[in-house]
Symmetry: C2
Subunit: 211 residues, 2 copies
């Protein structure tokens, strides 16, 4: 056997072992996935201090719109930069309803009573969308922020998600500092953790990235 043959065989061995390993992996995965048979509307929470909470929320909205589903969006904090999403959603005007309800971030308005009223109004709009039967998915963008400031009663929100949310509607809730009670009632929770952020190097918010 020449040296070249040995090398070739070694490479083939690697490939064969790899194929065998992947066959087993696929078999195990297929077996697990076969047990996943339940279809139901989920309560999905994106929280944490990292970027990507609202971005992934809107990513789900666009994905759902891609399937031709009708989607509702309620924005609980108006101050958030969002021109990119707004214009992108305009191309789905046949499927999406967007309600910008928040009167601005609390440190922008500095008016607690107005913020409480705005939060309640936004929550009423969200509940109406969720129970209407018109939407497959409703995004409650930055709902966690108003819950954190106790502008809305967390017990009321949890009771609604548990008892009144229709079985077939996905509700996506974003914002840092998600309350424990909400995490408890949710089906799918992801924490976006900040590993590295460009603001630290003096980079400003940029179109496409932050808004």
């Amino acid at each position: 056997m020449t040296e070249t043959d040995t090398e070739i065989q070694t490479e083939e061995d690697v490939n064969a072992r790899h194929a065998e390993k992947m066959r087993k992996k696929k078999a195990a995965r297929d077996k697990i996935m076969a047990t996943k048979t339940i279809e139901k509307g989920l309560t999905i929470v994106h929280t944490g201090k990292g970027k990507g909470k609202s971005t992934a929320g809107f990513g789900m909205v666009f994905r759902s719109l891609g399937h031709g589903h009708r989607v509702g969006v309620v924005q609980f904090v108006k101050g958030r930069l969002d021109t990119g999403e707004t214009h992108a959603l305009e191309r789905f005007a046949d499927l999406v309803t967007v309600k910008r309800m928040g009167e601005g971030f609390t440190w922008e308005t500095q008016d607690r009573q107005r913020d409480i009223a705005a939060a309640q109004e936004a929550w009423d709009a969200a509940k109406e969308m969720i129970t209407s039967g018109d939407y497959r998915m409703v995004l409650c963008d930055e709902l966690n922020i108003v819950l954190r400031y106790d502008y809305l009663d967390i017990a009321e929100v949890v009771a609604f998600l548990k008892d009144e949310k229709p079985e077939d509607v996905h509700v996506v809730i974003t914002g840092r500092n998600a309350k424990d009670e909400l995490i408890e009632v949710a089906d799918l929770v992801t924490e976006m953790e900040q590993v590295k952020h460009p603001f630290r190097s003096g980079v400003k918010p940029q179109a496409g990235v932050e808004y």
Copy 2:
């Protein structure tokens, strides 16, 4: 002073203290943001075991498209369920170029040599898009997966991002197990951490949520 007056004053006090606190918060924030003046194309990484990595990547793509920017998407792993995004992107056919390059998830194909060739081909396509001058943002979806299996040389990818990526292009890279060398060179890194997942309760992948 009647009891009612006291109550009203207390509520007013709360509101006044809140307004003062928020004024200070806003002033501090405005001061910090005024120092963020640099505009540059970022290398952005979404990694971790939780959901939302590709979803937030596509969320950035849609946001960028909303601004009227041209965007490129290279998919390194074809097997990923993606019908929702595909159909949603069809509404932006004037602005987006999508290249589905991966020959399928490695445990689906079980052919290491073919996967390596596919990874290299996808990376060549990504480099061409990034350096072409045609795109403001390029999403390298699931690039981390092929780097993890060493189907692509991490040193080559890092050197390209450092020395050849044009200053004004955002590159978004998704996939779990991001290599340390990539995190080192990136400007913005978010780790999506899984807190709760519905598969554990037997719920199957659903349209709008997983694909």
